[in-house]
Amino acid sequence: MFKRIYGFGFIITALAFQACDKQETAVIGNYSNQLPDEVSYNFHVRPILSDNCFACHGPDANKREANLRLDIEEEAFRSLEKTPDAHALVPGNPLASEVYNRVVSDDPSIKMPPPDSNLKLSDFEISMIKKWISQGAEYEPHWSFLPPEKVKIPKVNHNDWANNEIDYFILKKLEEKGFKPNEEADKESLLKRLSFDLTGLPPTLEMMDDFLEDQSEDAYSNWVDRLLSSQAYGEKMAVYWMDIARFADSHGFQDDSYRSQWPWRDWVIHAFNENMPYDQFITWQLAGDLLPDPTKEQLLATGFNRNHKITEEGGIVDEEYRVMYVTDRTNTFGKALIGITMECAGCHDHKYDPVSQKEYYQLYSFFNNIREKGIESVVGGPETYAKRPFMEITDEDVNAILGFINKPDTSQLIVSIMGELDSARTSYVLERGSYEAHGETVTPGTPESILAFNPEFERNRLGLAKWLFDQKNPLTARVFVNQIWQEIFGKGIVATPGDFGMQGELPSHPELLDWLALDFMENGWDIKRLVRQMVTSATYKQSAVIDDEKMEHDPENIFLSRAPRYRLKAEFVRDLILSSSGLLDATLGGPSVKPYQPSGLWEGATSGRGILSVYKQDHGKDLYRRGLYNFIKRTVPPPAMTLFDASNRDQCEVERLITNTPLQALVMLNDPTMLEASRVLAGKLLKENTTAEQNIMKAFRMIVCRFPEQREMEVLIKYHRGQLNTMLNENAKALLNVGEYPFEEDLDPVEWASLMQVISTIYNLEETISKT
């Protein structure tokens, strides 16, 4: 549901359903009071033109019709090629503007967009365009391609609400809209929210007690610091970065055998925990190998660009796949780091954004010079677990510079990394994106419309990183700040975090986005500081209650007059279950693990080749590791994870859907992980010699992270009594018989299973797996 806000595009679609008279006067009559006083090209008109017109009258030179482009002012104003007396746009005069006459026409031969495009402007959109032309048809450069502007902190009426700068921007808009922010959330809700956002783990009982008792001013802020400095912070952040980096434990194509890339993941956790500045974090990943005398840690970081899928299917055409890998890197760079959907320009000039096909391949050529092959080996032994170029991680490394790697044994360990060819490979524009259709040659470069490449920078990946972190780059900081905002608030200020281009959503709070971006750059790209700013804001600390008025007027919570409320990510659902039951093994890093999984999934989908054709489940502590360590075989990803919308790591992903399906209910009801956790927690509580009521209350607190209300206790106690009275001994034993965790001795099966049933009920509450 946080996939996209109801941005401009949708709303106008919705408006199209209102009955409207096609008569031109009626058009304006219907909408005049809804149109903005001053129509903005960026915010009102360009979204309409981009979505409906630019595909044929935009940046793509090959598909341009009538040699007319509407995305550039000069081109749109000059006289038309075939009818030089006419102009597409005549500022101030819609009736003389061909654009307007075409969109209102009923004649299919001249109507725009043409009927066969299946596109249609709503009357509202038409009246918007008319008003824009009347007001002079002023163009503006695309907002995200202009550098962030230094903005003043807005003045607000209620000065006592704000905790920090973020709040002034949020409150300003709320006051404009006539909304009041919610009250601050109660302490229990706050701590749960904070704990999940900073560590991906629920607060422990001790944490809850401590926080409830601590009446001091800095009680909250102290917990922010403690959680930010816990190791679990790096693990939490790594989940998001692993999606972006398409990290997995298998190569991804066909037989989909094993790769040992996990040390790269250990590095990511380490880097977040060390609070490595974002510019360094990215520079190492993009170009660690090109730094002077690179350390092994810097080399390891470049594994980022080797996480993509690599084929082991015999018989493929080598170059076809090698090109695919370069393309993957280029697209990942675009989507993850500058929020531009580059891939369109791989086959033709971009239809919406000013990125030409040539520019695409200029960017591509940064990544095209790697000592790699399309296929190096087919499914085989340990020598195939990484592909050239790779580095070996020795035990000495682990005892020295790579101390953050959790290498469990002394066997050989190799990781794919980046490494340049000695002499540059020639790069070409690939016609239609086809690996064999070489067009003109290109050299490394970046899209002009974003920021020209400074000639002083090296024309390699290191120079590309410098371009990215050039203070003049309009996108880098905005895109990252927005990703972190999404991590904390559920959706970005720009609701399409991977698309800051013409077709992307517009920012809900553009000034705030710019302020955050500049502040982030000015303060050394300090990630923990950025996160801290967000979670200490009054905006963040509001309660998540939705009252009728807010439901009516801001159902998607665009204006943040309340805290967002949404389901935890797949990994954290698992972490919650393991942590609250005391089963969690908090070991940091190491090879990915294979916990319980329904049988036959890998076996049913394999050709039988390779060590991943059979799922060999782990035992002991490895059954209870955090969700981020779950082994990901790309072609058969862990089902309980994908059912909760985890990425299958096929390609770079910058956001996850949040769905609500019956199959998720089945996981929560029947997954042995949850059942075992219930069994274990029930056993532990029964050993404590407390009353049934106390046990239920404690379990509730550990799982839902708050004290239950009286009425909630009544339901659970009644259910518990019923279970105690009616459960048969044999059913109790059957219910308890789940999981490999050792069984408590001397417990009465009925008593034990009855409490277990209550606990699994608590695990299944909607609130349990929601951030509230």
Binding site: G604, T661, N731
Partner: protein, 484 residues
């Protein structure tokens, strides 16, 4: 930005809709299944999806796709080429090959010796279609099916070719055909998913299958194919733990509903009501699915039709019978994958057994549907991801050879769902290398399937990352000649 204009129109969106609906009992669960995307906050349902539904009544309501994974040889099945037998051992003329790129498996082969089918061919039915002796049961239903001999594709390797067939693009991460249909049409049965997947494996050289073949891609995950299996859990996590009776499960659900409702009172979040409904649907699936999976109540006549293997869980025959039951119950798209068709070598031996594995049950499915009066509204498809070369891969001996991947022509058949029965469409050259008449590109095939379900492939679109995507990417035209 200024959102003044839009504020009072926000009441059209999902949350509001849900909050109103949730007071109206079970309608949400039903609604969310029938039109899931209305609930998912993307607003595309109202506009773009509506446009995809044309004025004409759909011919088919459901699809059963019998995917022959690994690529069966058209030359030993449905594309009879006697000339190849005459020319056995001669090299494939370069003029015919016409620069076709080769897979790495035969690219270095010094010669390309032509080889004809080891199995005989005969003509069958009113249509007089040529069918190989390896498919005796299919021969008997020839007047119910339409054989298309002129399919062609762009990929030459399994993974990209399979992905292309199922999602319209080679790279993956786009929604598969079943997901598109689920998105476009929803489910007919509120207790079952709209898109289900069944896997089986033959004895031949196999290629894996991948969950991306039944992925929802960028569509909501309710459109993901749900794998049904023959194990203890026909659907993942469906089975309650041992020791839990239905009465006890019901009790838990009632408690959950009550407690969740308290939470709703506190937070006012319509997602909570939706969650209650999803649990109810899960509960109903727990009864519905095992009933369908239970083949023991099928009459002997049906068992006889599909063959004794259909009582062995996990076999192709069992999956065909299951497919009929699922389809009959309203599952929009039942996707079977049967592995084992990748005959690079030892083809005569392997393909004989592989064909035997699928022939009876495939034909039985068509017959069974017909007898039940369901064939008219059910589209059945049989075929692989590409064809195989007319020359031998590896050494050609008197009685043994192999065939490499071949994208330029291959054969599939379709039945029911408004497809003209008893027809043969398209033609390849006398050496079975190139299509010479009525070529059908994969996108044409996909457009045709959507068309039969009443969907316009150019209008069934979903906007993602600023681009409008469709199953047929940017091409494809409906093959009108094979429609009733």
């Amino acid at each position: 930005m200024d959102k003044n204009i839009i504020e009072h129109h926000l009441n059209l969106n999902r949350r509001k809709f849900l909050s109103t609906m949730s007071l109206g009992l079970g309608s949400v669960a039903l609604g969310s299944l029938l039109m899931p995307d209305l609930f998912k906050g993307n607003g595309q349902m109202e506009g773009e999806l509506a446009a995809a539904i044309p004025d004409f009544a759909p011919k088919a309501k459901r699809v059963i796709y019998l995917f022959q994974n690994g690529a069966p040889s058209q030359l030993e099945s449905f594309d009879y080429k006697p000339k190849l037998k005459e020319m056995v051992g001669q090299d494939l003329p370069e003029s015919i090959r016409g620069g076709q790129r080769l897979t790495g498996m035969t690219a270095n082969q010094s010669s390309f010796p032509l080889v004809g089918s080891f199995s005989g061919f005969n003509q069958y039915g009113e249509s007089g279609a040529w069918i190989s002796d390896l498919f005796p049961y299919t021969s008997k239903i020839v007047d119910d099916i339409c054989i298309v001999r002129s399919l062609h594709t762009e990929a030459i390797n399994h993974d990209p070719a399979l992905t292309f067939f199922q999602t319209g693009a080679q790279q993956g991460n786009r929604p598969s055909m079943g997901a598109w249909l689920s998105y476009g049409l929803g489910s007919e049965n509120k207790n079952l998913p709209a898109f289900t997947v069944l896997l089986s494996r033959g004895i031949g050289n196999g290629q894996g299958v991948y969950s991306k073949l039944w992925t929802n891609g960028f569509l909501d995950s309710v459109h993901q194919g749900v794998q049904f299996s023959s194990g203890e859990d026909p659907v993942l996590y469906l089975r309650d733990p041992k020791g839990m009776s239905r009465v006890e499960r019901r009790k838990i659900l009632d408690n959950l509903a009550e407690l969740n409702h308290m939470s709703y009172e506190k937070f006012g979040d319509p997602e909570i009501s939706a969650k209650i409904q999803q649990y109810e649907m899960a509960y109903r699936m727990q009864t519905t699915v095992p009933d369908i999976m239970d083949l023991s109540k099928e009459p002997d006549s049906v068992i006889k039709l599909y063959g004794p293997d259909c009582l062995v869980p996990g076999t192709y025959a069992a999956n065909c019978l299951l497919a009929r039951k699922l389809s009959e119950s309203g599952v929009r798209f039942v996707q079977l994958y049967h592995q084992g068709w990748d005959q690079h070598g030892n083809l005569p031996y392997e393909i004989t057994r592989q064909a035997k594995d699928v022939d009876q049950a495939s034909a039985a499915l068509v017959t069974d549907l017909k007898q039940r009066g369901l064939l008219d509204e059910t589209l059945v498809i049989w075929g692989g991801e590409f064809g195989r070369t007319n020359y031998s891969q590896g050494k050609l001996t008197k009685d043994n050879y192999g065939r490499d991947h071949h994208p330029r022509c291959f054969s599939i058949w379709m039945a029911g769902g408004g497809i003209k029965p008893g027809t043969v469409y398209g033609e390849t050259d006398e050496l079975g290398y190139n299509v010479i008449k009525n070529p059908v590109h994969v996108h044409d095939f996909q457009a045709t399937v959507l068309n039969q379900l009443g969907l316009d492939h150019e209008k069934l679109i979903y906007k993602h990352l600023g681009r409008r995507f469709r199953l047929t990417d940017v091409s494809g035209k409906v093959v009108k000649d094979i429609l009733v």
